[in-house]
């Protein structure tokens, strides 16, 4: 008997377990290769599938092999003789393959570097390998997770508003059937019969009294077998279940006044993208809110955020105000993990920095998981402000916040190459930081 089996619908990825083991095994080589390939490509491309070429070091599978080149003698047969006669000599090929028929299988393992494709997820896992979301552990432990009422079956006790009618009536019906509760139709049938018996001539007293008795019994039974008995009643039950917050909102704050040029915005953008990507790895849902500000802050869409320019002064605290306003309106801390990233060239109206610091300390920092401030300088400034302590007003003011809050970070960047190290440093694992 022959069976034909259509296996095409079987679950895919049968070799996934092997692949994971392989990736783990070749971890070091793969990591080098991924980092190299990331360095050579635009940050915006990070989330794509890519080809990785690794050496087989670390994934060698050695076997005992004979080495006829070392010493000894052998014979072998090849196909395709055209010109040779017995006794001829043939130069041995210098090294590597060719020539001998059995060389192909004998020399080495036939293993060179090899190339394979890694999926987006695999690349990102490596990319984020030693980065850890700041304070993630702390917040998941501390933060009271969001509670949700979930159905938890049926109970016999509860409040009247939670009564489950279907179940209750089903029980009631079953009980009434079991106890043979007379229905109203039964009663009216009896009454009709009685009525008819009374009217017939001659009156059959025996039958009438029997009917009366039966009727009385039925009415009495209806009384003691209630239509709904307390034991029939069922209630829907709900229990409170903690649901971990799996969504995050990322506030992108940026100064768009005249002093922020295309270069500065581009740097900021790359930083935001990286942050966004990172959050996406951790949370199911990530909202992004763009707030741009000059002397006045607005929520805008991404396009406007990065590409439109406004004139005006620079008051950073307006953006913080706006952020708080939006947060209160839309992103309750119970439901959302809040991240904020602010990019600026470091200038603000004098006196405003102090105001910002107060707002951060009192209102904002208690709410957010993380607040990153990056100051975008040009390379000349970078040299001037080589020391962490010197800097523009905002920088110096924010330094005081950073001292107080471990989840507040400040960094300076001047060119695209600075972004990744900064990012790496900002989000490196807590223990490394400590």
């Amino acid at each position: 008997m022959t069976h034909f089996v259509d296996r095409r619908l079987n679950p895919k990825g049968k070799s996934l377990a092997n692949r994971q083991r392989f990736l783990r095994r070749a971890r070091t080589q793969i990591r080098e290769a991924v980092q190299k390939s990331l360095k050579d490509s635009a940050v915006a491309d990070i989330g794509k599938e890519r080809k990785i070429k690794i050496s087989t070091k670390g994934t060698k599978e050695p076997r005992f092999r004979l080495d006829p080149r070392a010493s000894g003698e052998r014979d072998f047969v090849l196909p395709g003789n055209k010109e040779f006669s017995p006794g001829d000599s043939i130069e041995k090929p210098k090294s590597g393959g060719g020539g001998g028929g059995k060389d192909a299988s004998d020399s080495g393992d036939g293993e060179d570097d090899f190339e394979f494709t890694m999926t987006q997820d695999e690349v990102l896992d490596i990319f984020f390998e030693d980065l850890e979301l700041p304070n993630l552990v702390r917040t998941t432990l501390k933060e009271t997770p969001n509670k949700q009422w979930k159905r938890a079956g049926i109970t016999t006790a509860g409040s009247p508003t939670q009564i489950n009618l279907v179940r209750t009536m089903r029980n009631s019906y079953g009980r009434r059937l079991a106890l043979k509760r007379p229905s109203l139709t039964d009663i009216s049938a009896l009454e009709a019969e009685l009525d008819a018996a009374e009217r017939t001539d001659p009156v059959d007293a025996m039958k009438i009294s029997a009917l009366k008795e039966e009727l009385a019994k039925a009415i009495a039974k209806r009384k003691w077998v209630g239509f709904i008995d307390p034991i029939d009643v069922r209630f829907n039950s709900f229990t409170e279940q903690p649901t971990p917050t799996s969504q995050a909102v990322m506030f992108c704050l940026m100064d768009v006044s005249g002093s922020m040029g295309e270069r500065e915005k581009d740097l900021a953008k790359r930083f935001y993208m990286l942050l966004h990507l990172f959050l996406k790895r951790r949370y199911k849902k990530v909202d992004v809110v763009f707030i741009r500000h000059t002397h006045d802050a607005q929520e805008v869409n991404e396009q406007e955020f990065f590409y439109s320019r406004q004139s005006g002064g620079t008051i950073v605290s307006t953006a913080l105000d706006k952020m708080l306003e939006i947060q209160r309106a839309r992103y309750a801390t119970a439901d959302w993990n809040i991240y904020a990233a602010q990019a600026s060239d470091g200038y603000t109206q004098s006196g405003d920095a102090r105001h910002c610091v107060d707002m951060l300390n009192q209102l904002i920092m208690p709410l957010v998981q993380y607040y990153a401030y990056i100051e975008i300088l040009d390379e000349r400034e970078m040299e001037v402000f080589a020391s962490e302590d010197s800097g523009a007003e905002l920088w110096r003011a924010y330094r005081t916040v950073a001292e107080e809050w471990s989840n507040f970070a400040t960094k300076r960047i001047a060119k695209p190459a600075d972004i990744f190290p900064v990012f790496h440093e900002l989000f490196r694992k807590a223990e490394v930081k400590a």
Binding site: V5, N18, R19, G80
Partner: protein
């Protein structure tokens, strides 16, 4: 007028089934093949890659080397360097053949003839398969192995299991019994023994030894009294099966590690016949599909178009590039096997005087199918070539033999396809297919269990060819890991 089985290249299950019936009819009634029941599975290309990467077994334990294989094959396939095999067939009963979904109907017919009847007949009848592999039991055993390895990973951690598997894989080629039949305990017995070992370990476990600093080993558990195991007591030396020896005698391995070695060793044993039968196995399947497809065409069951499609694919399968060709990578077993079998048919049906000289038994006997079946059943690559390679085929392939001495700068042509050379070429080619001679001959010659526990291996060099030095060191490290103490390898001139 017979009706065509199919006329379009698209296939569906009804057509495949109808065609299978027609092929079966020819295979069983015309060719009188003797096959295991067939199970034919349609798979997608990804599943074909899956099958490749777990050494073509539908069930396999997990190991990174299979993942590596998959990644490599997939990259090659995606880049278009290699086409997928049209089929994979498994030596089991029922005999499972995989058909690739993207094959045309003609290709499906070809593959069914090739795998479901050609390979199948060969699996069932060749003496090596009959003696050494258990077609009924292999799937059960693989299921057991997969489950067992997974359970070990759970219990002892992936790294631990991986280390043992790595080491065992390195010795896979030295993990077979070449001459004596492996003892084959039943599955229950395997399970029972493993349990007993585990129980013993638990009983003998002592908290004290856990706190020893690394490097100092607790006293080795005394041998478990088991009539069949004779743990370490009566080693039969020399022993050619390194995995078997380590499994039975290593002083440091734990029960589950021994069991893991046994699994790898059993797999190695299962595949050992296939390595000795590459040419014959493929030759048989190719010859069968060629014969069947031609009969289908002669009987008007397939169109000329699909016959031409079949011929195109057939000729590319049996193409043998010459040694100087860029495409040359050793002998093509399909070409050599099919060539020889077609030649045997020719010798049986239309022999030349030369054939009568060389093959007096079969020349002109007419019963080519009987002759072939006898060859399929009773020979392996080496003996088959030694027996049946004809001068005509040597001329056709233009075979020539080279003599190679390591310290000479040149190869010497020792024989070519002429009257003086036929026999020499034939013998040398046969030697080339002798797995016993091609694999290094490594044996356990001594184990000092009472003293410093050095394990003594020796390599009997064949014609003075030593082991490749770098890989030797790597593999020895694996042996040391399994043995737990020093391992020495001596290379002896035979």
């Amino acid at each position: 007028m017979t009706e065509l089985l199919f006329s379009e290249s698209e296939w569906d299950f009804a057509t495949v089934e109808r065609t299978y019936k027609a092929i079966e009819d020819i295979a069983l009634n015309d060719l009188k093949l003797d096959c295991y029941p067939n199970q034919i599975e349609i798979i997608s290309s990804e599943q074909m890659l899956d099958a490749y990467s777990s050494i073509a077994m539908p069930l396999m334990y997990n190991h990174w080397s299979f993942g590596k294989m998959f990644a490599r094959e997939e990259a090659l396939y995606r880049a278009g360097y290699s086409a997928l095999a049209y089929e994979v067939v498994i030596n089991s009963s029922p005999c499972i053949s995989y058909l690739l979904e993207e094959n045309t109907m003609t290709m499906q017919a070809l593959v069914m003839a090739h795998a479901a009847f050609g390979h199948n007949h060969f699996f069932k009848n060749n003496y090596l398969f009959r003696q050494w592999t258990n077609a009924e039991g292999i799937m059960d055993y693989l299921a057991f192995a997969k489950k067992y390895i997974a359970a070990c990973e759970e219990r002892y951690g992936r790294n631990e299991v991986e280390a043992v598997l790595d080491s065992a894989h390195a010795l896979m080629e030295q993990g077979v019994f070449r001459y004596r039949r492996p003892p084959r305990p039943s599955r229950e017995r395997i399970e029972q023994k493993r349990k007993r070992r585990a129980e013993y370990e638990e009983e003998a476990y002592s908290e004290l030894w856990r706190t020893l600093p690394a490097g100092i080993e607790p006293p080795v558990a005394p041998p478990i009294p088991d009539a069949e195991d004779d743990f370490g007591e009566d080693m039969k030396l020399p022993e050619e099966n390194l995995l078997y020896f380590l499994e039975k005698n290593s002083p440091t391995l734990k029960a589950w590690q021994r069991e893991t070695l046994r699994i790898v060793r059993n797999l190695a044993q299962y595949f050992y016949p296939q390595r000795q039968l590459k040419v014959m196995n493929e030759g048989c399947a190719t010859f069968v599909h060629y014969t069947i497809m031609n009969l289908l065409y002669e009987r008007g069951l397939i169109t000329e178009g699909s016959w031409l499609e079949f011929m195109h694919s057939h000729t590319s399968v049996v193409f043998q590039p010459e040694f100087s060709d860029r495409r040359y990578s050793g002998f093509n077993p399909y070409a050599l096997g099919y060539g020889m079998m077609a030649d045997i048919k020719r010798i049986c049906v239309a022999p030349t005087p030369e054939d009568r000289d060389w093959f007096p038994d079969i020349a002109g006997c007419g019963d080519w199918m009987g002759t072939l079946k006898n060859a399929w059943a009773n020979y392996r690559d080496e003996s088959f070539i030694e027996q049946f390679l004809s001068p005509k085929l040597i001329r056709d392939f233009r075979l020539f033999a080279l003599y190679d001495k390591a310290d000479m700068g040149t190869y010497k042509v020792s024989a070519i396809h002429n009257e003086n050379g036929y026999r020499a070429v034939r013998s040398m080619l046969a030697r080339q297919y002798d797995v016993g001679a091609a694999d290094p001959n490594i044996q356990v010659t001594g184990a000092d269990l009472k003293g410093n526990r050095t394990l003594q291996l020796s390599h009997d060099m064949h014609r003075g060819i030593p082991l490749h030095n770098q890989t030797k060191e790597l593999v020895l490290a694996h042996v040391e890991r399994l043995w737990g103490h020093d391992v020495k390898l001596e290379e002896r001139a035979a």
